[in-house]
């Protein structure tokens, strides 16, 4: 069966989602996004629709798992998501995910974050910019959607106009991926861009605070600094001081910025607080010990450290020296005496003791020790392990990236198997209850990642943690398979492409099916077998089940792909005639593409049992014939014995019969003579 070409409308649009069409001939470079290029688009049945599509072709996984939440967002200050789905892109014959958004009514607010901004009055800024965007944040909070991409370059607004600004799209790339460190709270800014994960609404409030600050100040106050310098400055001074400092701004804005730019998430204003602020209620941010400084510094690798956060970052960057400092007790003394934080010192002691109590040979002991100590020192900060720096929510996306690039996969696996996320959650103070499900999820993942069988391992963890992730099997990447239903049609396309691997199965496909199709481990245990027949049988059972449930009815490409793998199953049959017949039927059924019929053909237990019974009977017959042959050969080799045992008794019998006849004749003769003598007499 040949699969149809991508649905192309007369206008040259390619359909995707439920009713959207992307126009490959209408690129919109001004609207390009972090996750991919923008194109003109329209909605079927609505010719006047002003739509743009983002084609996610930048190699970053889109936020497919957030589509439902985003579809429910309905606010004039947020670009409306109209549709989404997989689209076949003819230029490179590859399938991509695409989003159809309402096209922005204004250009980007600025093209880059260092671009100077128009000077505006406080009232104008509040009325035309801040209030609509606060409304947008409230709407996002209502729908449970975290934007994670609020920045001036992703806001569409003609500066100074009375038209409300619009938040740009946040779906084409993983959360926080394209967000400069300037717009991320310190702990997320210290993480790698792909390791930030979906944040909270408070992170959106922080990003909005930075954006408003830039507009109020008319420029980027940290212009020219790289991300590391920005983070260090935020840690050193606090975000408010780093951005606003001694600059002259109105009292209401000072209050707003103190609320939004608080480095302690517990003290930061939420969308609800912002809404209250717009109604005139005044909130006073509390003090926080996030940037707490020690009474005296600690020397580490030739540098002086006064705060735990930069120290933790420096320790993670120099594991050997950090481990030595921890083991020597120098760090503990500094925390107790100079920082005066007995709780933190106790936490440090606890992680050290726990690691030692684990017993056995601990892999990468120093890395683990330093990571655990860093978590104890900076609980809100990222997990720093073997060159990685990521928030627990970012592990899922980092795993995807690692799986695609092959980088850091082992380190990420160790983070999960060593239960560093559980430790991170345990170290949190106020938010601990909310994070329990996260800890439980990663506890379960640590069990899965230890299993090496097909359908388990790190691949399964990737799909367990990423709901909307397509199958990452190397030969299915261009197909963008998102559901178990789409797997067989995609494999069929691969099968007919002529560039197919030996088996239509690998660790990613198995893990994908285990998660997306909720298949039990038992369905995959046989697939891990070294026995080719068991593996082929399990593969056929799996795919015939999928075809049975989801179709399509004919999969000739997969049938012919599986055909050589099923040969060993046919060779299980011992009768040559049956085998020849089955082989012919196998070829015929494979060409027809009916996997269920193929399964019935080669994997029928009754037929197998009957064949084996007949073989046993044939073997018995063979044995009996051999015995008879031996007997006959023995007879032929001993002619004398035949004469003696058969010939002579036969001669005796013959003589006896003849003798009886002669005796009878003699008696009859005598009787006859007697009768005739009487008659004569």
């Amino acid at each position: 069966m040949a699969f149809p070409d991508p649905k192309t409308s007369p206008a040259g649009g390619i359909a995707f989602g439920n009713r959207a069409e992307i126009l490959p001939g209408s690129p919109l470079p001004d609207l390009n996004s972090v996750g991919g290029a923008a194109y003109g688009a329209h909605i079927k049945g609505d010719a006047a629709s002003d739509v743009m599509a983002i084609l996610c072709n930048a190699g970053v996984m889109p936020r497919v798992d957030a589509v439902t939440s985003m579809r429910s967002v309905n606010h004039p200050s947020i670009l409306r998501l109209l549709d989404s789905g997989v689209v076949h892109w003819p230029q490179d014959d590859t399938h991509y995910y695409a989003f159809a958004f309402q096209r922005p009514t204004a250009p980007r607010m600025v093209q880059h974050i260092d671009q100077p901004m128009l000077s505006m009055s406080e009232d104008a800024i509040n009325h035309y910019f801040v209030f609509p965007l606060i409304g947008a944040l409230v709407e996002l909070a209502r729908t449970g959607m975290v934007h994670n991409a609020i920045r001036p370059t992703n806001i569409f607004w003609r500066m100074g106009s009375a038209t409300a600004p619009q938040l740009g799209e946040c779906m084409s790339a993983s959360a926080g991926f394209g967000q400069p460190a300037l717009f991320e709270p310190i702990e997320r800014a210290m993480s790698q861009p792909r390791g930030r994960g979906v944040g909270s609404h408070l992170d959106d409030c922080y990003a909005l605070g930075v954006t408003i600050a830039m507009l109020v100040l008319g420029q980027n106050p940290l212009q020219g600094l790289d991300d590391e310098a920005i983070v260090n400055m935020k840690i050193d001074k606090g975000t408010f001081n780093a951005l606003i400092g001694n600059r002259r701004i109105s009292a209401s804005h000072v209050e707003l910025f103190r609320g939004l730019l608080s480095d302690d998430a517990r003290q930061r204003w939420s969308p609800t607080d912002l809404e209250q602020w717009t109604h005139g209620r005044r909130l006073t941010p509390k003090n926080s010990d996030v940037g707490r400084r020690a009474a005296r510094h600690i020397d580490f690798e030739g540098k002086e450290y006064w705060q735990v956060r930069p120290l933790a970052a420096a320790m993670a960057a120099n594991v050997a020296a950090a481990a030595q400092m921890v083991e020597s007790g120098g760090l503990d003394k500094w925390i107790r005496r100079a920082l005066g934080d007995d709780d933190r010192a106790a936490a440090l002691e606890e992680v050290k003791t726990d690691l030692k109590e684990e017993g056995g040979k601990i892999t990468n002991y120093e890395d683990q020790l330093v990571t655990r100590c860093c978590i104890a020192l900076d609980p809100q900060g990222p997990i720093r392990y073997r060159g990685l720096s990521l928030m627990p929510a970012g592990i899922a996306d980092m795993l995807v990236d690692a799986s695609l690039t092959g980088n850091h996969l082992q380190a990420l696996s160790e983070i999960i198997s060593n239960k560093l996320v559980t430790l991170w959650v345990e170290m949190q103070k106020d938010a601990k209850v909310e994070l329990v499900p996260l800890a439980q999820q990663y506890e379960r993942m640590s069990g899965i990642i230890e299993k090496s069988s097909l359908g388990n391992g790190v691949e399964r963890v990737i799909y367990e943690l990423n709901d909307g992730l397509p199958c990452l099997s190397p030969f299915l990447r261009a197909q963008y398979v998102m559901t178990a239903k789409n797997l067989l049609p995609a494999l069929e396309r691969v099968a007919t492409s002529g560039n197919r691997p030996h088996e239509p199965m690998d660790r990613h496909i198995a893990a994908f099916l285990a998660v997306r199709d909720r298949r039990s481990d038992g369905a995959f245990s046989a697939l891990s077998s070294q026995d080719g027949t068991k593996r082929a049988s399990a593969l056929l059972t799996l795919y015939s089940g999928l075809q049975n449930r989801y179709g399509p009815d004919a999969l000739p490409g997969i049938g012919q792909w599986l055909s050589p793998l099923l040969e060993p199953l046919v060779h299980r049959f011992l009768g040559k005639a049956l085998r020849d017949k089955l082989q012919n039927l196998l070829r015929e059924t494979a060409t027809r593409g009916d996997l269920t019929a193929l399964s019935r053909l080669v994997d029928d237990p009754n037929r197998i049992e009957q064949d084996q019974q007949q073989f046993r009977a044939a073997r018995m017959l063979y044995l009996n014939i051999m015995k008879e042959i031996a007997h006959l050969e023995n007879k032929l080799a001993h002619r004398d014995a035949v004469i003696r045992n058969t010939g002579k008794p036969m001669a005796a019998s013959l003589s006896s019969y003849l003798a009886i006849v002669f005796v009878m004749l003699a008696i009859l003769r005598a009787i006859w003579q007697g009768i005739s003598g009487s008659l004569m007499g």
Binding site: R644, A659, V663, A666
Partner: protein
């Protein structure tokens, strides 16, 4: 002595049991004939003289089954039967018996019938053996063909005792 006894015991056990009934029957016949001798002496004389060829063959026959003796004896007896009937018809006297024995033609019949028995002994066993062996060869051919058919239908493993799972795995 004890050793000798123990050696003999298994040998005795292994030996086939002797036919006691045979000896008893033989002695009964001898006693019966001895008792009847005064009444059937002419017949007895004719029979004992007439079956001399059988007695001679019995002595020279080395076959334990005595099949040849049985063949010759049966025919010898058949040849003698008309003369015994004659003796009984003409009167059972020693004179008639001697008369019969003195007739050369009678000897021709008696010895000729024994000769036919001898001829059967010489001719029939080889003929029977050839027939039997020819049949065996024909059967052997059919059986070998059947073996080949089994092998072609089920493969060479049908001739082995290899476990099925190993055959299936191709080991």
């Amino acid at each position: 002595m004890a050793t000798a006894k123990t050696d003999k015991a298994p040998a005795a056990a292994a030996a086939p049991p002797k036919k006691k009934g045979g000896k008893i029957g033989f002695f009964l016949i001898v006693i019966l004939f001895a008792m009847a001798a005064p009444f059937i002496m002419p017949t007895l004389t004719l029979v004992l003289v007439g079956i001399m060829p059988t007695f001679i063959w019995l002595i020279i026959d080395t076959d334990p089954q005595k099949s040849s003796t049985a063949s010759i004896g049966a025919m010898n007896c058949a040849g003698l039967t008309p003369f015994i009937i004659d003796l009984w018809v003409k009167g059972q006297t020693m004179e008639n018996a001697v008369h019969i024995l003195r007739e050369p033609n009678n000897w021709l019949v008696i010895l000729g019938s024994a000769g036919i028995g001898q001829l059967i002994v010489f001719a029939v066993p080889p003929m029977m053996a050839s027939l039997t062996l020819n049949q065996a060869e024909a059967r052997l051919k059919i059986l070998r063909h059947n073996l080949e058919q089994l092998k072609s239908s089920w493969g060479p493993d049908v001739a082995t005792t290899k476990p099925l799972d190993k055959i299936i795995k191709g080991e």
